[in-house]
Symmetry: C2
Subunit: 209 residues, 2 copies
């Protein structure tokens, strides 16, 4: 088994935290995103989507998606469960995970990638080049504000995002909130539930992963 | 149990097809998206995100996400499995489902919502209003072209999207391809594997759902 990682990037960090919560260690290779290694022929032969993380299984199967990789480990190492226990909890975890990605992570990505000087012509990850759209960066920042506000409301009613147990949805949101620091957006004192939660999930040993 | 649906909309259709494949029938309420019922106070009390589908369980729990709803039924009605059987298949289904959403469905939504005369000021679903960005509509169309091309390549190597079994990833892609018809984008004869697959999944009884 081999894990293609990039220590500084948000997406593979989500898998690293998941693995740390499960107590799993996997042989890891660093991919140098800063110098475009993911866009070179050698890495594209591993993942044509030109993204990390990738998990290569011993039979050669390659999983090229954050959640797909986590699902594999959830099934092979069920304890502690990070994707819900029982039909309703599993459904709530999937729902909140997708909400965090759609409303938070993609919004933050729009804001960052459409404004960063180093990403001109690379407004989206993946195999195709797209020019930056400044209005999309602005919209992304506004959406992050709305995400923080709605997440704060949710966390006023629930200890963790999907309910009373820490889950993959908390990992997605933690990495998103930390990523938003790159674009100078942070939860404020007007969002006390979000701040309480962020301090709690950041204090877990896994957050250092 | 109650299912909030809209017979003409792509997102709830994904759940309807999933239910049809499982042979499950659920009492259904139609929400009139065309006249903005989802944005009114009555529906926002049901789902603050102002979107369909919603599944209300008998204990009052509301699931407001396509995949979350499907996960609930996958767990309560495991046969036939539509989200994979065994760790590797489940991981591949999750991976391809997310790929179809990110590269296909969201791209088509960008193309449609940022160009449709009826959606000025509503470039995204959800509780917040955002103006249309014409460049994003154009980018969406280009991304749909790339999605078709990459999906064609995948379907040259695999009977269904996630492997040898029909899955929720096929449902996501079928609804996306049909939705692309709204913006006059269709698979071409240069994409024979995609056309073969589209004919096959469209011929299933569930596709009428």
């Amino acid at each position: 088994m081999k894990f293609y990682d990039c220590a500084t990037a948000p997406s593979p960090r989500r898998v690293r935290i998941f693995l740390a919560e499960k107590g799993i260690s996997v042989p890891t290779v660093q991919v140098d995103l800063r110098n475009g290694e993911q866009l070179g022929a050698a890495f594209r032969a591993i993942n044509p989507e030109a993204t990390v993380p990738v998990l290569e299984l011993d039979d050669g199967t390659r999983l090229t998606d954050i959640v797909g990789i986590c699902r594999y480990f959830e099934e092979t190492h069920p304890e502690p469960p990070l994707m819900g226990r029982g039909p309703v909890d599993k459904a709530l975890v999937d729902s909140w995970l997708r909400w965090c990605d759609r409303e938070g992570f993609y919004a933050a990505m729009d804001a960052f990638r459409n404004a960063s000087a180093g990403l001109k012509g690379r407004a989206l990850p993946g195999p195709d080049d797209f020019p930056q759209i400044p209005e999309l960066a602005e919209r992304g920042r506004a959406r992050v504000g709305s995400f923080f506000s709605r997440l704060n409301e949710r966390l006023g009613a629930s200890q963790f995002i999907a309910g009373s147990a820490y889950s993959i949805a908390d990992i997605a949101a933690l990495v998103t909130v930390d990523f938003c620091g790159w674009i100078k957006l942070k939860p404020t004192e007007a969002q006390p539930h979000l701040q309480r939660w962020h301090a709690a999930v950041s204090a877990r040993l896994s957050a250092k992963a």
